[in-house]
């Protein structure tokens, strides 16, 4: 437990005890929706709420199947100082204008109260028949900060510089790298120099995250999504080329940067971790494998590193009754490859294998500490339909849908209106093939191309009632994450 200090541990335990006292008689479940930016956290949460409140079709969710699910309602949340998750706004966007929600810029929270009929006699006569589900949505970039908690400034500098010098990143990092190498860390602390460095550094991170590279490992996360902290000293630092050994001299640029780095950890990262991540019961890790596959092998390897570092920050394990009072542990983790609707279902197994390969270390760690782990390919909102295309005697498993405006395939730019059938390519049978160094004579990974599709039109019944959003395996995910607590 090197991520939290002793005082943090004490405060987490204290908060847990307060929670426990509050929640006596009204059980609550904290669901951690984890995922890097664009993994689909907001859509997942929206679809989850929509399906539960609108009685969506969830046949594999046992309480729904047995008819024990009575309904769900949005209730006042846990922390009054955090904005409420804008569920209605997101649903309106999805159904009316058929666009995906924009990337999340600030943290938000929501409590969903699920009413159910217990399946056991004791539960029916003694229980309240309600479960409070607490969910937090936040910009995925912030997640990248969690691994920083265990690093000092020197390690941070070394790793960031090493990463920036990787061949694929040199083009976008060149400006910042040349500028940094011209600066003496032992020189005087100058706010202007620091500001300029920070500017170039954030520009490099932004370029690495966006564009065609789709890299994941771009900490610190707040540099990409500063929120209301933009311009504050804690956010105005940058890695430097430090000398091999020694301490930072007084009033040097190095000392300035180091103190700001520590401030960043204390002011920004630690509170975020403590209030929202240290005390989860269940966790779903959403991974957008497909866009990493679009980005090629480097993007995939980068995603692997990022996931590995982030998942090391959580606390999986078997939870006991007493343990729940003091230290909450995550006793079930679901690894979900999102956007499975961008693939024909015959490839879902292979997608799951790729995700398993990406997170195998985290899976091993979680299983070892006693948590239940599952891996699934899912689509919280299903944007496509399936079809078989027959051409020249071969048949291709395809998906039908309307690609988003600006998507590009074979030099054809889509305008967001025409419907197409897409064959995205075959995922390899052995996921290892995606990770290994390509042979010299082998062509690069262009055998796969996943377009992004617009949200589906929501069907309306004759009475004008809009049906719930279609999905793929959201019901199984819910069954795994919540099913036992609704028994």
């Amino acid at each position: 437990m090197s991520f939290t200090t002793l005082s943090d541990e004490a405060r987490i335990a204290l908060d847990n005890m307060a929670d426990f006292a509050w929640s006596l008689g009204s059980p609550s479940l904290r669901l951690g929706v984890t995922g890097l930016s664009r993994a689909g956290k907001t859509v997942f949460i929206t679809a989850l709420i929509h399906n539960l409140t609108h009685g969506g079709r969830l046949p594999m969710f046992e309480p729904w199947r047995a008819g024990r699910l009575l309904g769900a309602d949005i209730r006042p949340q846990l922390h009054p100082d955090v904005p409420t998750f804008d569920y209605r706004g997101h649903v309106r966007k999805l159904t009316d204008t058929r666009v995906w929600p924009e990337s999340t810029r600030q943290i938000s929270e929501l409590r969903l109260t699920i009413a159910y009929e217990s399946a056991t006699f004791l539960g029916r006569s003694l229980g309240r028949g309600k479960l409070d589900l607490d969910i937090v949505d936040y910009p995925g970039e912030w997640l990248l900060d969690l691994p920083l908690l265990s690093k000092d400034y020197r390690t941070f500098c070394r790793e960031t510089l090493e990463r920036a010098r990787e061949p694929r990143r040199t083009a976008i990092a060149a400006d910042w790298l040349t500028h940094t190498s011209g600066i003496d860390p032992l020189g005087p602390a100058d706010d202007e120099v620091a500001g300029r460095l920070h500017e170039l550094f954030s520009a490099y991170l932004g370029a690495a995250r966006g564009g065609s590279l789709a890299l994941s490992m771009v900490p610190p996360g707040r540099f990409l999504m500063p929120g209301d902290l933009a311009g504050s000293p804690a956010l105005t630092f940058s890695p430097l080329e430090l000398p091999e050994s020694g301490e930072a001299p007084r009033d040097s640029l190095w000392a300035l940067m180091e103190s700001r780095f520590e401030a960043y950890k204390d002011v920004v990262v630690r509170p975020f971790f403590r209030t929202h991540f240290a005390r989860l019961d269940r966790q779903v890790v959403l991974v957008d494998v497909l866009s990493a596959l679009n980005g090629g092998r480097e993007a995939l390897l980068d995603l692997e590193v990022a996931l590995g570092e982030i998942l090391a920050c959580f606390r999986p394990g078997h939870s006991s009754w007493l343990g729940q009072v003091l230290t909450r542990r995550i006793d079930r983790i679901l690894f979900a490859a999102t956007k499975a609707d961008h693939l024909h279902h015959v490839s879902h197994d292979r997608l799951e294998l790729v995700l398993r390969r990406l997170t195998d270390r985290a899976i091993a760690r979680a299983s070892f500490s006693g948590a239940e782990v599952d891996v699934k390919a899912l689509a919280a909102v299903r944007a496509t339909r399936e079809a078989t295309v027959r051409r020249n005697g071969e048949s291709l498993p395809c998906i039908l849908g309307v690609p988003q405006e600006g998507e590009l395939l074979d030099d054809h730019l889509y305008d967001g209106k025409e419907e197409i059938a897409l064959f995205p390519g075959d995922l390899p049978e052995n996921p290892q093939a995606l990770f290994k160094e390509p042979e010299a004579d082998e062509p690069a990974l262009d055998a796969l191309r996943f377009l992004r599709f617009r949200p589906p039109p929501v069907e309306v019944t004759a009475e004008g009632v809009s049906l719930s959003l279609p999905h793929i395996r959201l019901d199984r995910a819910l069954d795994f994450l919540l099913g036992d607590r609704l028994a």
């Binding site: 078989t388 020249n392 055998a447």
Partner: protein, 331 residues
Amino acid sequence: MTRRPTAFDLTADDVSHVRPGEAPQADAAVIVEEAVEADDLPVPPVPVRRRFSWSRLFFGAVGGIVSLSIGLWLDQLVRDLFAREDWLGWLAIGLIALALVAVVAIAAREIAGLIWLKRIDRMRRRADLAAARDDRPEAEAVVDDLVVLYADRPDLASGRRATEARVGDVIDGRDRLVLAEADLLAPLDAAARRLVSDAAARVSVVTAVSPRAAVDVIFVVVATLGLIRRLAALYGGRPGFIGLARLTRLVLTHLAVTGSIAVGDGLAQQLIGHGLAAKLSARLGEGVINGLLTARVGVAAIDVCRPLPFLERRRPQLSEIMAGIRAPGAK
């Protein structure tokens, strides 16, 4: 064999977009066939197991009292015999010991039969759920159990080998079960169908020619029980007396539950056929009806004895079984 990513414009001239149920354009170079939205499979309700029942407690207690009284009576008997003559007492003890050994053996067989029944039932339920959920680990476990169940059946050796060879392949949970069904149960299903056909034929003939109603009633009961026992043995069970009684009860319950299904299953034609046969001769008509009933009991018994539900293979239809009768019966 790399297939490049391709997009097909649905509005292009040479592309024919076919919705479910439509026929494709003949001259289209590319045919886009939309998949039928699989409406979700009906999922079997998960049964809630009752752990405790008052009636079970009552019968348990009464059973205990009866055994105690029998013990007391035996004890008294042996004492009396010893009082009269020593060798009589020893003889009684010897006989009791022999009876005990036999009882233990019988009980063991009965228990084995009951355990088998329970095991089959649990296996089928698990398979049902695993197939509905497409749950791979659960399906693997069921298939492993199935292989163990048939481990000492030489006639299924090739099926076992085929099933074991597929371990480790990436196969969806449901498909895993479907393959095991094809490998292991298909030969058994064929044999079972033959057994049912034969029994039905025998019942038909005996009913048609028997001189007295009582004779064919007894024959039908014996033949049906024999059929159930043989089907159980075929699917790997060795039911004893209690096992057979319980199995018969299960079969009859199953028959009552699924009775309405059979209406669509060619029963109407069969009954019309019976009408025709009855026009020719009343006895012949009765024979057809009795044979039909035996066949239905047989199909229900297959349902109950089979360790997997019918997934991809068809449940034997009454019409097929009756057709199986006619072939030899025509002579």
